[in-house]
Symmetry: C2
Subunit: 564 residues, 2 copies
């Protein structure tokens, strides 16, 4: 039951499976654009240009019109339209495509999925531009996280999925005695239709694990992009459909669902009984709505939370400041893994150069941030642009609130982008609040905003960090300390709250850049996400083992004897 | 990080892990009581006698009184009382017991769990009597399914759990370059407190997979038995606590929760935020309540459904009848896997002896049932007694309904038990209904009742079976056919509906006796159960990989270079 595409990519899959078990550094897809050819980025730019002022082609059933009103955060006019298909038509098409895909078997499906990843990888440069002009990421970051790293996440999910699907044989001979000899056949069977709802800021990085885990395990996938970031997932869907078609499968196994701007398309399709899996990464409101309403489906909902930083003591004060500034600036805080709240005690911070007072730390962090922003070209490579005007409004609201009742350590202000004069770029807002001002720090303010919280001592910092992560959830917890007992207490907190813990990060290791094949991005054990990512639970819920049994021998009759 | 108990039981675990991959016949615990000693059953009877008219001893916190009003379906007075503990006290005790159990590591937890299973196995005879006099199962069946087979299910869950927990190393060295070299530590971390709600008819068989999967993955377990079947799980909890204590762990990792008869204890504890896992097997009402309300927990709910039988054609008509009668009688239909509805077309049944008319089949099945019941000693070994008076009422209601609008092929009537004159034993009720009488066959009538449904042809039988299993769920689908195209259509139905399919079962292979380590008891893909059993999904949701990382080298500072 093998397949030419499985054989073609078998080595990569085996390496990936070794990597998830080893959890050392491994990058399956080159992260340097030049490896893709000296002119790869230029060719990517041209390919992207071809999408502008044009109708994106996807040959799907049930077309009712065209839609899509993406706007580049860099100010580039896009004017791309996409076919709007009736959700019921996509559901029906997915259903009729399903059984042959299931019967094709594990290796055929895995091979096709790996080929889709290979094609996406070849198109990484084009994808980088598509991401840049929808999400606001810098070209560098868009290429890295939305190209090779997003593909690596897809591969990581496939590695888990293939391993889990392979745990049970296709056939077994079950024999208890001569009259009880059965042939048992097992087949990986899908849950049903998988709905993947794209995010606005990391559409490929967030969607690929779900897309590939669902598809590889036999589920047709309907991809519903965020209205502001359609192009990256439209390109993805088109590539997947092309590969499916070339290999004799129904392309409607992967379809694109575009909402008319005024219609609640995602809410409508999320409640259809045929939709049995939903993956969503994005703002908490819709995530909670899904958890409350889409009861017919297995949900993987990642809404983020309030990632906390605790600064107790350090081996290298300057390196701490630089690492923190870089994390706060990265993608303008538009990553779910960005630190939001920094707890510092009024007892100060022990450093090799002596005790740094809390006031001094606040000034130093603001100063280091300012220093980093001095060189605009460097700054915008890290910051990118702000994806949504709503984020700008959120900054303004936080500033207003802080002006009234807290302190502004460093205000947010527009930054002029050297290449894109209309780009929406703002420097991060740094607020300083007190321990009793929970509205400042027990809430995720998605975007370039962070709050420093003054506490009585590190014990209070730990308690408040734990309370924050318990109530709001968190993906990670960064602790700077040189003291073993603080380290131990922090480990207890992390274990109780289900957050990934990092100690004393410095250099280019950023808390908000989880490493593929090594780090778990989410635990599923706190409100930030409803499932671990990427682990066995993430894939195992998407399929079951279907079973058929029958006697080998001509049936013999029962003699009513109970053999006790 | 190994543990003496892990080494003691390592071979058994490795055999179990090989068995779930091979899925051939394997029984880890002997199924013949005589293997446990010539006098094992007598000693079991004595041990059981010691529980009667006594206070069951469990040394738990928060005792508020004593409760328990079990009544033997065989009429034996029991008069056993159990300590009633405050749910909050059990939750608090579980929480403080958790971290040392987690830190003990995979092998220590696995070793302790395997030792608990070994002790339970040694007490199988005692357990058989405890089960017989609470669930109504015959001694034979109680021993078999509630002893060695229930323990085997616990072991099967442990085999999956240990394999899934071992996928990730405890430590990894992650190195990207000289300045980015991190130590990453991983630990299996539990979701929180696991609540296992026992069933009335198969308390050990249903509870052991959840109990052992949760405990092995680090979760403290609160066991809430059904009020009519406390003793089997009380014995289980006592054994678990004893083994935990002997090995230096807090016995409050496993506690028994008894509801005062008038208090909604299960509903109360099921909603506590600390309870993060709930396993329930039982009547649909409470199962649906859990799904609707216990939103803070990951739920594994098995409520059963309407298992369908389709009779199209056969190689051996007599063997078909006998197998069907045996399945309908087994444990008086008090198994979730019992067939409920039998579809037969008015075109008749092709057999080697020629076409059997549908009317003839109905008469033959009723006659075969009567013949089987002729020998009461043999009959009660298979039927056992009826666990609940509610089942007797359900039979009466079905009879009343059938008398008005359908046909009774064979009425249910009391059977006198040779050893237990007060035993609640009734013969199965066989109803014959038409395809438009959905109230007769699209509903699970738990107990000794089955409905034969007349259809136009096998195509209609398939369509109605699929509709029934889609709406009500089902664990299995039994199809008697000699025709390849019917076989193919049935496979499509089974795949779409997520039911385990069996063809032409005869002899002692019963649809309602799934084989451990070979069969999947549930798919999780239809309303009968919310999770596959027993598979990776069943265990993987109970834990996540907790992660801690820090630099190996003295931190180096960041140079702000973006290396695109």
């Amino acid at each position: 039951m093998t397949h030419p595409l499985f054989e073609k990519h078998r080595t990569l899959l085996e390496e990936a499976q070794a990597a998830i078990t080893r959890r050392t550094h491994w990058t399956p897809y080159p992260e340097n654009p030049r490896v893709y050819g000296e002119t790869a980025l230029d060719e990517g730019a041209q390919a992207f240009e071809a999408y502008r002022d044009a109708q994106f082609y996807v040959d799907q059933p049930g077309v009712q019109g065209r839609g899509g009103e993406e706007a580049s955060p860099y100010g580039l006019p896009l004017n791309i339209s996409y076919p709007c298909c009736a959700p019921d038509a996509l559901v029906a098409a997915a259903h009729s495509a399903m059984l042959p895909w299931v019967r094709a078997g594990i290796d055929a499906r895995t091979g096709v999925c790996l080929e889709i990843l290979a094609r996406l990888n070849a198109g990484s440069a084009e994808m980088a531009y598509a991401l840049m002009h929808t999400t606001g990421q810098s070209l560098h970051l868009a290429f890295l996280t939305g190209g090779p790293q997003a593909q690596a996440r897809g591969l990581e999910a496939m590695a888990w999925a293939h391993r889990e699907m392979s745990q049970v044989p296709q056939q077994a001979e079950w024999q208890r005695n001569t009259s009880q000899r059965l042939e048992k056949r097992f087949m990986v069977a899908p849950q049903g239709i998988s709905l993947v709802i794209g995010s606005a800021t990391q559409p490929t990085w967030n969607a690929y694990p779900a897309l590939f885990a669902s598809l590889a395990t036999g589920n047709p996938v309907i991809v519903k992009p965020h209205p502001t970031a359609i192009l990256p997932l439209a390109i993805t869907v088109a590539v997947a459909r092309q590969v499916l078609k070339e290999n004799g499968f129904d392309p409607n196994l992967v379809t694109l669902l575009i909402g008319n701007p005024d219609g609640p398309v995602a809410r409508d399709i999320a409640l259809k009984p045929e939709v049995r899996l939903i993956d969503y990464s994005g703002a908490p409101d819709f995530g909670h709505w899904l958890l409350d309403n889409a009861r017919q489906a297995r949900l993987v909902v990642e809404t983020g939370g309030v990632n906390c930083v605790l600064v107790d003591s350090t081996y290298d004060y300057k390196a701490l400041l630089k690492n923190l500034v870089f994390s706060l600036c990265l993608d303008s805080g538009q990553l779910r893994a960005t630190p939001r709240t920094i707890f510092v005690s009024r007892e100060g911070i022990q450093t090799p150069e002596g005790l740094i007072a809390e006031d001094q730390f606040c000034r130093d962090l603001a100063f280091a941030l300012g220093k980093f922003l001095e060189a605009p070209q460097r700054a915008v490579e890290v910051l990118g642009a702000i994806q949504s005007p709503a984020t700008v409004a959120r900054i303004a609201a936080a500033r207003d609130l802080a002006e009234e009742t807290a302190d502004i350590l460093r205000d947010s202000s527009p930054i002029s982008h050297p290449q894109w004069p209309s780009a929406r770029v703002l420097s991060p807002l740094l607020i300083r609040a007190q321990a009793d001002q929970k509205s400042f720090y027990m809430e995720e303010r998605f975007g370039p905003m962070a709050t420093l919280v003054s506490t009585v001592n590190t014990a209070e910092s730990l308690a408040l960090a734990e309370a924050t992560m318990r109530e709001k959830g968190a993906l990670n917890f960064l602790v700077h300390t040189t003291r073993p007992h603080v380290q131990q207490l922090a480990e207890d907190v992390a274990l109780r709250r289900g957050v990934a813990l990092s100690f004393n990060l410095t250099g280019a290791v950023l808390i908000n850049q989880p490493a593929g094949f090594a780090d778990f991005h989410a635990s599923g054990a706190n409100p930030a996400a409803s499932c671990g990512m990427i682990d066995a639970a993430f894939v195992a819920n998407r399929f079951y083992f279907s079973q058929v049994q029958q006697h080998y021998l001509p049936p013999s009759s029962i003699d009513w004897v109970v053999d006790l």
